[in-house]
């Protein structure tokens, strides 16, 4: 009886896998921007691939790739990506597009970051004013970028007081916390524009080249995990770096603002 049930389970799940499906782990910032809702149907139409999107933090995406539970990952943390490839878990990394990070905060701007010259200086002003700051705190690409900026400002988050709050959550959840606390937060522009609970927050600082946020696509190495859908991963990569993708990505706007810029090299 148990064996029959097990067999039945395996047949149905195998059947699901037969149809061209590809499991892609992507970061919360990719999904919260709304871009995935536009890309996935186009991918299905053009290539026939059913992309099953798992929206998780960068750390978890890398973990899933290492475990072979997904066929490819799309993240935005260069150092983690390079380690992923050099450790043999990914075949290579392919840059697809970039957007930028922005600094969000209460519209009254108590720390006066609007007039900062650089992102590092803005963060410095926040620390000096000890204004409430929400950090992703989840080892994600966004979090790593934030830590790099603190480092550039010669500050150590470990030593910050209670005004610095690491929430350990995805982009949307962190924005919710910032909105609730009327706090400063670093977010990617796309997620911010698409966020539905802005409350008393506004976009205060952007434009520093250091806030540049590169997304890359990494197929999971079939040599390490033989079962991955390597063939579909390759086809998806071709699509993501094609003119069609460039078109869709560059044309994707929220309230007239373009969010991502396609920058894949052939």
């Amino acid at each position: 009886m148990i064996r029959m049930l097990l067999a039945l389970m395996m047949i149905t799940t195998a059947a699901q896998a037969q149809a061209q499906t590809l499991r892609l782990a992507a970061t919360t910032s990719f999904n919260n921007s709304g871009l995935s809702d536009v890309l996935l149907p186009a991918i299905k139409m053009d290539t026939g691939i059913d992309v099953q999107l798992l929206v998780v933090g960068t750390g978890q995406a890398i973990r899933l790739g290492q475990a072979g539970d997904v066929d490819a990952i799309l993240v935005h943390s260069k150092t983690a990506e390079e380690a992923f490839v050099s450790d043999g878990f990914g075949t290579h990394r392919r840059e697809i597009m970039y957007n930028d990070f922005v600094l969000i905060g209460p519209v009254q701007d108590p720390a006066m970051i609007k007039t900062s010259a650089t992102a590092a200086q803005a963060l410095q002003r926040i620390a000096t004013a000890e204004a409430t700051f929400v950090s992703r705190g989840d080892d994600s690409g966004t979090h790593k970028k934030e830590l790099a900026l603190w480092s550039e400002a010669a500050l150590e988050p470990e030593q910050f007081g209670a005004w610095y709050k690491g929430v350990g959550s995805g982009m949307g959840a962190s924005l919710n916390s910032a909105s609730g606390l009327d706090a400063y937060i670093m977010a990617d522009r796309a997620s911010w524009l698409n966020f539905g609970n802005k409350g008393g927050l506004g976009l205060l600082f952007s434009g520093d080249p250091k806030l540049f946020n590169q997304y890359a696509y990494l197929p999971v190495n079939p040599a390490k995990h033989g079962h991955v859908n390597a063939e579909a991963a390759v086809r998806l990569e071709h699509w993501l770096t094609s003119r069609r993708a460039k078109d869709i990505i560059n044309k994707y706007t929220i309230n007239g603002q373009a969010l991502f810029i396609f920058n894949s090299q052939p």
Partner: protein, 234 residues
């Protein structure tokens, strides 16, 4: 306050227009939780009854452990099931991760102790009532279990509904083992988590009200079908 009202309106709107996505995730929620309920009941009801009537050495210890398992944090269960079903894990070859089946497995683990514990409590009371009579009538163990389960069926139904409530409202475990994949493993609770994360509170609340309504409807339907509150029955 206005957000809650917006949520109620959103719930009505979604139901009224029979939103396709809503129907899809609602059906999937039901599929996952009802299947988990059936499997869990098939395991828990006989076990709880057997535990009530059988005397053995470590009985008290078993009962204590069973009651403690009711407090298993669902998200921990999810993490453990993920590690087991992961490709790098022992059962990875079965390819069950990120499918509704994985979600069912996690929910079965979560709700079986709950159903078994309530069953045990109810059957123990009924057994102490029937004990002398059933022994005097020279019944076999199997006949006793059957008599207890049949006569105690209304309490058992409550136990099952408690399990169902726990399952359909669960989000931590099924998020991890299911992945909340659109059109594959997204259910009401994970969709609510997603929309909350996007800051779309009206939609999240709307889905929440749909979920509450669904649970109410299921409970009412079961009670109606078994005519629990009718005069003269118990």
């Amino acid at each position: 306050m206005k957000e809650i009202w917006a949520g109620v309106q959103e719930a009505f709107r979604l139901i009224f227009i029979l939103d396709a996505d809503l129907i899809e995730i609602t059906l999937r929620s039901l599929e996952v939780s009802l299947t988990a309920l059936m499997i869990a009941s098939a395991l828990a009801l006989p076990f709880g009854t057997w535990l009530a009537i059988r005397r053995f050495r470590y009985r008290r210890f078993t009962i204590a452990v069973l009651n403690a398992l009711m407090g298993l944090p669902p998200v921990v269960v999810g993490l453990v099931v993920y590690l087991l079903l992961s490709r790098s894990g022992p059962f990875g070859v079965m390819g069950l991760l990120f499918t509704p089946t994985a979600m069912i497995i996690a929910q079965v683990i979560i709700i079986t102790p709950l159903i078994a514990s309530i069953t045990h409590q109810a059957m123990r009371e009924l057994w102490s009532e029937y004990h002398d009579l059933l022994i005097s009538l020279n019944t076999t163990k199997r006949q006793r279990v059957v008599a207890l389960i049949w006569d105690g069926r209304r309490t058992l139904m409550t136990a099952a509904l408690a399990g169902f409530g726990r399952a359909i409202g669960e989000v931590g475990a099924i998020m991890i083992v299911g992945g909340n994949i659109d059109h594959a493993t997204r259910v009401l609770t994970t969709a609510i988590a997603l929309e909350t994360g996007k800051g779309d509170f009206a939609l999240a609340l709307g889905l929440g009200f749909v979920l509450i309504t669904l649970t109410l409807v299921v409970n009412l339907a079961i009670h109606a079908l078994s005519r629990t509150e009718q005069e003269g029955t118990w």
